[in-house]
Symmetry: C2
Subunit: 104 residues, 2 copies
Amino acid sequence: MIRISVLYPNEAGKKFDHAYYKDKHMPLVFQRLKPFGMIRYEVDKGVAGGAPGAPAPFVGACHLYFNTLPEFQKGMGQHGQELMADIPNYTNIGPQIQISEIVS
Amino acid sequence: MIRISVLYPNEAGKKFDHAYYKDKHMPLVFQRLKPFGMIRYEVDKGVAGGAPGAPAPFVGACHLYFNTLPEFQKGMGQHGQELMADIPNYTNIGPQIQISEIVS
């Protein structure tokens, strides 16, 4: 299975609207990409880093699960523009995108 | 639910033994932390970044699921030293640790 992680670095002075992300953006992503094979998703709110008192490296993140990468790519080819255009509604942080194979 | 993500940056010239990580290290982590409340885990092998041709930001990663953060902290208090001592067996990369609340 494939995981697409979208990770928003915890940068000083930037905004991130967790409620909009969870209640509006991510349901829209799932609605658009489910017909292309998106299985499910998880939404993270950063709490802490590893060392005592350390801040979370990422303020927010999501994980999208697909059986194959081309499914995600086809879905984004169709709906990526609309989904990207919604980002400024919840953040001005540029995300890191990690595509992984879930091996265990 | 709480996710602890351990993310290994994709750094040039460093080693990462995916087989050892998946077959030895992560089963040891689960064996040690399950009695403290660890529910399950997922292991990632980095495939790509978001832009066409971009490398994965992280060569490997894992995600540990707990109901509460103190469960993880208690388990690491008991077994952290042993688990950390196993890291050089598969990598010389210093991981980023992200603790998140799974909100959706």
